[in-house]
């Protein structure tokens, strides 16, 4: 199979405009004849469902939570990037494009990234118009701040709750369409399979989470906006329900999955406190704007931080990277923190922590100003740890946060299954091997508001509508598949709980496919996961029945998929003999310990294809060309 991005040739500044004009349109009177299925109601899914509903399509939207407003996009804290250059400090669409390609360590598709930067300005306008209460300066205009990996101030924010406000804007737009009858919403409904007929995505199979009922939903196109797979690590900043089932079932139906080894570890999360820990809490990267990261210069120094004088503190990011300092990109900051802790300089009860200190900022700006910028984050920290960041430095440690890998999509955001589109974190596209802060919100909304409405129209205009009945072979096969998996989980009747397997899987992938990887470890991990997965199917305990509200059954299906995805992730990491962005292979590093890319041999997207249960997946490479941003060794010194 050959992968073509379908991005137009010609000058990149004109690519999207040229492409849009070339896309076929669906006559306004015909739009309502097309049924579109949207799975996921976060920033990407909610924005898509609302926009497609506004256009007149017949949209059916599904989410597993009790309401579209619960999607995990709600938890994003710091902000959203846009190339408005309101601060007159040198920002532009081109610079945002450049920063994002560079930040992605030269492993993304230039055309997609340029378009992302281009539509970023429209996103802010749309959100303001929806009533998103962005922070304002006294003159009444929008305020900005800087974020990791950028030397300009381009991040728009709403206190430390930007994701919440952006999602509520999209959610409110979605509810308006639901109220008008343009969108039908199915909450507490989980997608468990894709129906592929005549080589096209023609619908989905769902299970109701309240009563177990399995249903078939046909559509002229299917949009997956189901988020990332960070929960393969069990402990992550994701919500407990976040899962990869939708994209994994699509993978098994033929959608290629790209670059799963590109996982992002966020440098500033609250450290693990104990074995019962259920998730890790993110402390927004925006804190790094004003906080200073340090460790004691003496390894094993257990003194109270207030008693460690300036001269005995190592502000290691400022020391190693003078021009970016505390604002180096996430992968660099995370590895630096791990290195300091491995060398014995870590703080806190587990020694796995570094300080994020606001005392200088409080002295300089005053407590009131710091409270205004970070108030809710400080409260959150206090609530969880019992420590007050206005008085003692925060303790932070890196944690899994975002996944750059996902289903492969072309320039139209369509996967290798015609009619199956993938948006937001669920797709692989714009962030390369490392995502910059404040760009996930940007990408989700770009995909949902400004890209899919055009590209899906082109697909629909070019594709003959079909009517299927529930007896269609593809539908019956998908329903049988879903029912079989459910029964297998309920009938295992083993001794171990689902969570205990999930925790063990998480430890394996964190240890061997986390911040630093090596060939021997990855091979070992693949073996361990394989063994654990086999044991799971024989020995898992899922009480209750299918025809009820059964949270163990829900979790079991998701964990079953995580085993397989975890293995693929390790395989991808093993295959990629270089270090880039969030993928760090110990065997490939510069003398200073930075990622060493191998552009000659690995400047490609690794797209994996399911070849059947128990068989090795196929690997198709999409070569990457960098015509505008010349690959260089990423330096933030």
């Amino acid at each position: 199979m050959e992968l073509t991005s379908n991005a137009p040739a010609g000058p990149i500044e004109k690519s999207w405009e040229t492409h849009k004009f070339g896309l076929k349109l669906v006559n306004p009177a015909n739009k309502r004849k097309h049924k579109i299925i949207v799975v996921g109601s976060g920033l990407a899914g909610g924005a898509a469902a609302a926009s497609l509903g506004e256009l007149g399509y017949n949209v059916h939207c599904f989410c597993f939570q009790d309401s579209p407003r619960r999607a995990h996009s709600i938890a994003a804290q710091g902000g959203i990037n846009a190339a408005k250059n309101y601060h007159n400090d040198g920002d532009s669409v081109y610079r945002l494009f450049y920063d994002t390609v560079k930040g992605g360590d030269f492993r993304s598709r230039e055309a997609n990234v340029y378009r992302l930067a281009q539509v970023s300005v429209n996103i802010i306008d749309q959100c303001v118009a929806q009533g998103v209460p962005f922070a304002r300066e006294y003159g009444g205009l929008l305020d900005n701040r800087s974020f990791g990996g950028a030397q300009v101030s381009r991040t728009f924010y709403a206190r430390g709750q930007t994701g919440q406000q952006l999602l509520l804007g999209a959610y409110q737009a979605l509810e308006r369409q639901i109220g008008l009858g343009a969108v039908k919403m199915y909450p507490r409904t989980e997608m468990l399979d894709v129906i592929v007929s005549d080589g096209k995505a023609r619908g989905i199979v769902t299970r109701s989470l309240t009563d177990g009922k399995v249903d078939v939903h046909f559509g002229d196109a299917v949009v997956l906006a189901t988020g990332g797979y960070g929960n393969v690590y069990y402990l992550s900043t994701n919500a407990k329900g976040c899962n990869a089932t939708a994209i994994w079932r699509a993978y098994k139906r033929g959608a290629l999955l790209a670059n799963p080894c590109y996982t992002q570890i966020h440098p500033t999360c609250i450290p693990v406190a104990g074995d019962y820990q259920s998730k890790l809490t993110l402390m927004s990267e925006s804190l790094r704007n004003d906080g200073r990261i340090w460790v004691p210069q003496q390894p094993g120094d257990k003194r109270n931080p207030a008693s460690i004088p300036e001269g005995e503190r190592d502000y290691y990011l400022e020391r190693r990277y003078p021009s970016f300092g505390n604002l180096v990109p996430r992968d660099i900051a995370s590895r630096a923190a791990k290195a300091e802790c491995d060398a014995g300089h870590g703080v806190g009860p587990t020694g796995l922590g570094v300080y994020l200190d606001f005392s200088d900022a409080i002295k300089r700006l005053g407590k009131h100003k710091i409270a205004e910028r970070y108030g809710n984050l400080f409260e959150m920290y206090d609530r969880i740890t019992g420590e007050n960041p206005y008085e003692v430095p925060m303790r932070i440690y890196p944690a899994i946060h975002y996944t750059m890998g996902g289903l492969w999509v072309d320039y139209n955001l369509m996967s290798t299954i015609p009619g199956l589109f993938v948006l937001g974190e669920a797709n692989f596209s714009d962030h390369g091997a490392n995502r910059l802060g404040a760009s996930a919100l940007m990408q989700g909304l770009a995909d949902g508001y400004f890209i899919i409405p055009y590209t899906i129209g082109n697909y629909l205009a070019n594709t003959k509508s079909e009517t299927y009945s529930e007896d269609a072979p593809a539908a019956k096969d998908a329903v049988a598949n879903v029912t079989a998996i459910t029964q297998k989980l309920l009938n295992a009747n083993g001794k171990r709980t689902v969570d205990s397997y999930h925790r063990e899987l998480g430890k394996i992938v964190w240890e061997y496919c986390g911040m630093a990887r090596n060939a021997a470890g990855l091979k070992k991990a693949i073996g361990m996961i394989d063994e654990l997965r086999e044991d799971f199917w024989k020995n898992v305990r899922v009480l209750g029945a299918n025809e009820e509200f059964n949270q163990s059954l829900e979790k079991a299906g998701r964990v079953a998929d995580f085993f397989e995805l975890g293995e693929l992730m390790c395989l991808d990491a093993l295959n990629r003999n270089e270090s880039c962005g969030g993928h760090f292979r110990e065997e490939y590093q510069t003398p200073e310990g930075e990622a060493l890319r191998d552009d000659a041999n690995f400047s490609y997207v690794a797209a994996w294809g399911f070849q059947g249960q128990g068989r090795p997946p196929s690997l198709t490479k999409e070569p990457l060309a960098f015509n505008y941003v010349k690959p260089s060794q990423r330096s933030y010194k």
Binding site: R70, Y86, Q130, A135, R159, Y449
Partner: protein
């Protein structure tokens, strides 16, 4: 009613982690685990919620139950857990309830009608900083329903008021301000929420510390809209 003993609780555990531990033990014994809604575990999604000894989310200021840590309890404490009690929140199982009534209220008018792509530049309309801050204070509502659960009447006034107030403080919210108040409050009544009688339990229970002021704002908007309401002379525009 079921009674469970949970020995060996660590003070750094969160409340829901303690329930996870209990559930794991129950499953190991072959007993049905306790069903409860949760997701983000960081106080922002609004999915979790239960009464602990008669107080929504446990009754600790500005704290959702997922943010509540066991250091706030003592060894030997007996805790009564109940789901949100309201006719408009039917119970699904154990502590999980159906809050789709909230979504229908938002669908009735909790939005600004601006189709994608039709927006002016973000800085075209300056917004007074105080207004943006007050809007944000009200917009911080997570839609958890604690206000309804805490209210002796099961009124949804704080939830509805929060959204009305958020959009009322912004210039972009002005064109639909009257329609919004009428539509949302009428839907709220249809859903079976009771009326507000200014008790104030909601403000005390709200984990996001939304102020009673939002109810005053929504009452003012509603009264003004009710007095000035007139039939539409032409249906059109952002429909």
């Amino acid at each position: 009613m079921f009674r469970y003993e949970v020995p060996g609780v660590n003070e750094h555990m969160s409340f829901l982690e303690m329930l996870d531990v209990l559930n794991e033990r129950l499953i190991e014994k072959g007993e049905d685990p306790i069903a409860f809604d949760h997701d983000c575990r960081e106080g922002i999604c609004g999915m979790c919620g239960m009464m602990i000894n008669g107080k929504a989310h446990g009754g600790f200021k500005g704290t959702t139950v997922c943010q509540l840590h066991m250091r706030h309890f003592k060894d030997g404490d007996e805790l009564y857990l109940e789901p949100w009690r309201a006719a408009a929140f039917p119970v699904i199982k154990d502590l999980a309830v159906n809050r789709s009534s909230f979504d229908r209220i938002i669908a009735a008018g909790g939005f600004i009608s601006v189709p994608t792509g039709s927006a002016p530049d973000g800085n075209a309309i300056p917004v007074r900083k105080l207004d943006a801050d007050l809007a944000m204070d009200a917009a911080a509502c997570i839609g958890c329903g604690a206000c309804v659960a805490a209210c002796p009447n099961s009124a949804a006034a704080l939830f509805v008021g929060a959204k009305i107030s958020h959009l009322a403080h912004l210039p972009q919210g002005q064109p639909e301000r009257d329609r919004r108040a009428l539509a949302m409050i009428r839907q709220m009544n249809r859903e079976g929420f009771a009326n507000c009688s200014n008790i104030g339990e909601c403000e005390a229970a709200c984990p996001k510390e939304i102020k009673l002021e939002v109810i005053a704002q929504s009452n003012a908007d509603y009264i003004k809209a009710a007095f000035t309401e007139r039939p539409e002379t032409a249906i059109g525009g952002a429909g």
